[in-house]
């Protein structure tokens, strides 16, 4: 379960997961409307400022955002090499064409991925799945059956990892692990699927036996409350998004993705 264990430190731990989710949505959706570099820089700068106030351990933040820190520049480089060429061309080789426009696009892409990804990851790693389910059901009022079912299924993920390792060792023991790697992985995936379905249906029976899906109106052992603190987080999300838009439009660099 360690791969999905939430961080329970810093100021964000007490914020309702629904508020975090809303703040991330507001910032991400706004930033996805444009592909200029300025709005991304403004958002990224403000996000880093906000991040400093969360008191999250820097090491943990860096560790969990590593995939993003690697992926963002790679996506940028790809865009530089293959992106829509415009302006002065510096170098061409087969399908590769590095131009003034593709370089600008590459930088903007990198910044945008970071600006959208970092807040999403930082807010999500502090979300406890149980608290999120409570919030989604009690505050957003999603159906309990759907929310609790998803939450219970999430617990099985850790077991899948163990199953996969056991399946791998078992294939070595059976003498079939030397060749045909692709075919073996296909077979192993199928075996994992069968095992997962069995586990899932057993869990469903266990949940049903504990009254899940009964006609009674479900109560909640853990109240999910939305306090001033949660509204503040949403307000900060709106502020970051608004600043990015205002600065970018004022500077004339805003370019609307849709219809441009």
């Amino acid at each position: 379960m360690t791969i999905i264990a939430p961080l329970r430190v810093g100021n964000l731990a007490l914020v309702n997961p629904v508020a975090k989710l809303a703040a991330v949505f507001i910032v991400s959706l706004t930033l996805l409307l444009t592909i200029d570099w300025l709005s991304a820089v403004v958002a990224l700068g403000l996000e880093c400022g906000v991040l400093a106030f969360t008191r999250l351990p820097l090491r943990a933040v860096v560790l969990r955002t590593t995939p993003l820190l690697i992926a963002a520049p790679l996506a940028g480089i790809t865009t530089v090499l293959y992106g829509q060429p415009s302006g002065q061309t510096y170098w061409t080789w087969w399908a590769v064409e590095i131009s003034e426009g593709s370089i600008a696009l590459g930088i903007a892409t990198t910044l945008r991925i970071l600006a959208v990804g970092i807040p999403a990851i930082v807010l999500f790693i502090t979300i406890d799945p149980t608290d999120l389910a409570d919030g989604l059901a009690q505050i957003v009022r999603l159906p309990a059956r759907f929310v609790m079912g998803g939450l219970a299924a999430l617990r099985l993920v850790g077991l899948f990892v163990e199953d996969w390792r056991a399946l791998e060792l078992a294939r070595r023991a059976r003498g079939v692990a030397d060749t045909g790697r692709l075919r073996r992985i296909a077979g192993q995936s199928f075996a994992l699927l069968v095992l997962s379905i069995r586990r899932g249906s057993k869990l469903a029976t266990a949940m049903e036996a504990r009254g899940f899906g009964a006609k009674a109106r479900r109560t909640w052992a853990r109240p999910s409350v939305f306090a001033a603190r949660d509204w503040t987080v949403i307000a900060i999300g709106c502020a970051v998004a608004a600043c990015a838009v205002v600065v970018s439009v004022a500077a004339g660099s805003w370019n609307f993705v849709i219809g441009s």
Partner: protein, 497 residues
């Protein structure tokens, strides 16, 4: 007594159930009455419909698409499917019953579903955890509990719903002896406090005998074969029950005479010296292990939970790398391959070391039982007619001949176990390694396995088995090799030495 629990009655009249897609009913024309507060042990061969009956009493058999119901089943005068919470069901698999990530939340889950008020939920959570003796705070992660603790957690979740009828479906089959006692004692404590009606399905009579006051034996197809006081029924039906796979106290496995094959001149196959073991990408869990494995000998690896027995089996089986010390195959075992089993290719393990895991399902790689047994010999490119002969012989020996065309995943627990043993036997490895071969098996499969192990040993195979089963060690004439306890290791590591 915990307030709020009202012991429930059970009335079945001409009740039956046929699973969708099956020709024969699992249970037919069953008439049965259980009075409030009775404590019943339900026995019968596999296929006698015990689990089906429990599912019906718990109200989780499902609707019309799952099967066809006959007659009536009433718990406290009403259909259990319409009144959730009157009966509480505890099942076999500890991993499949944990719903939520934290102990307190998991216990509260059932109460939430029944619409119990919040302050009352938490009162019940604490009372239930105390009743099952699970001494963990509500925020403790459920993933870190042992098997016995998970079963007690599930029991706490069930009794928090205050069911008048407590249903236990082989609750200790997947547990080691320590876990079995934990769960049995928790059930005893719960029954004492609540006075709830109890129905237990379990092969191991000894565990529950002192707790129950009535034994019901179901025949094939779900009719009642015997019903009465425990001592009387167990005496009168001992032979019949034993043949049906029930572990009847006092009826022991026939004495085997494995013969004196374990002499000092036995050929050495594999030797571990000062070995350190651990799973890949995990901490080392045991060090300083020395063990000699010789042809024609049976060794059982015993030790505490978490001591690393399974890891030891994987390591000496050449499946995961050693973490220190030496593990060397003698020329008699290596037969031309490298001296360290982990350096062998997967195919080189065949004919040398056969490993059988605790969960047979992880090892199945083919669509039919026949192909499953043929997979190893085929990987060795043996001639087709030789493979056919070998597979036929194994099918007969493991009593799987009627199932040759069946999909391995559709077999019963005992059949899966026999098949997984068969897959290892198919390439005639000199060394066979088993992880908990008798776990969760009924008495019939157990006796078959013992007989098979004795034959294999007589044929000169070396056998290593990780097991908690003392009777297994005795019946196979095995030598015990005990893993050092974890605490001693930690103490030794942190000591001044």
């Amino acid at each position: 007594m915990m307030p709020g629990t009202i012991p429930a009655s059970v009335r079945l009249s001409s009740w039956g159930w046929r699973h969708a897609g099956r020709r024969d009913a699992a249970v037919r024309d069953l008439d049965l009455s259980i009075e409030p507060g009775e404590r019943v042990l339900l026995l019968g061969a596999s296929g006698s419909g015990k689990s089906t009956l429990l599912a019906a009493l718990a109200g989780v058999l499902g609707g019309d698409e799952e099967g066809e119901e006959f007659g009536s089943v009433l718990v406290d005068g009403r259909n259990p499917a319409q009144q959730r919470g009157t009966s509480g069901l505890l099942m076999q698999d500890p991993d499949a019953q944990v719903v939520l990530a934290r102990v307190g939340d998991d216990v509260a889950f059932g109460c939430e579903n029944l619409g119990v008020e919040r302050s009352e939920i938490w009162r019940r959570v604490h009372a239930s955890l105390e009743a099952v003796g699970l001494d963990r705070p509500p925020e403790f992660p459920t993933a870190q509990l042992s098997g016995g603790q998970k079963q007690r957690l599930a029991l706490a979740g069930v009794i928090a719903m205050q069911p008048g009828l407590l249903l236990l479906d082989e609750p200790t089959a997947n547990l080691d002896p320590v876990g079995v006692v934990e769960v049995r004692d928790a059930v005893a404590s719960v029954i004492e406090r609540t006075g709830a009606t109890l129905v237990v399905v379990e092969h191991r009579v000894e565990v529950w005998r002192s707790l129950v006051n009535r034994v019901i034996v179901l025949d094939h197809g779900g009719s009642v074969l015997a019903d009465g006081a425990p001592d009387e029924i167990l005496r009168a039906e001992a032979t019949h029950l034993s043949a049906a796979g029930v572990w009847v106290p006092g009826v022991h496995a026939e004495a085997f005479s494995p013969g004196d094959l374990g002499g000092s001149d036995a050929q050495l196959l594999l030797e571990a010296k000062d070995l350190a073991i651990g799973r890949p990408r995990s901490a080392i869990i045991a060090t300083g292990l020395s063990l000699q494995i010789a042809a024609g000998r049976t060794t059982v690896i015993t030790g505490q939970n978490g001591a690393g027995k399974s890891t030891m089996a994987l390591t000496i089986g050449g499946l995961i790398p050693t973490r220190g010390g030496a593990l060397a195959a003698t020329p008699a075992l290596a037969a031309g391959a490298a001296d360290s089993p982990i350096r062998w290719r997967s195919r080189e393990l065949l004919g040398r070391i056969g490993s059988v895991f605790q969960s047979p399902e992880h090892q199945f790689i083919a669509q039919t039982v026949r192909d499953e047994l043929a997979a190893g010999p085929r990987a060795l490119h043996e001639p087709a007619d030789a493979i056919d002969r070998r597979v036929d012989e194994l099918l007969a020996r493991l009593r799987l001949d009627a199932l040759a065309a069946a999909n391995p995943f559709t077999l019963s627990g005992g059949q899966k176990r026999r098949l997984s043993v068969g897959t290892a036997l198919a390439t005639r490895p000199k060394l066979l390694i088993f992880d908990e071969p008798t776990f969760g098996q009924d008495a019939v499969t157990w006796r078959e396995l013992i007989a098979l192990f004795c034959e294999l040993r007589a044929e000169g195979h070396a056998i290593v088995a990780v097991t908690h089963d003392r009777e297994f060690a005795r019946a196979t004439g095995a030598v015990e090799w005990r893993m050092p306890d974890r605490r001693q290791l930690v103490d030794a590591a942190s000591g001044p030495s």
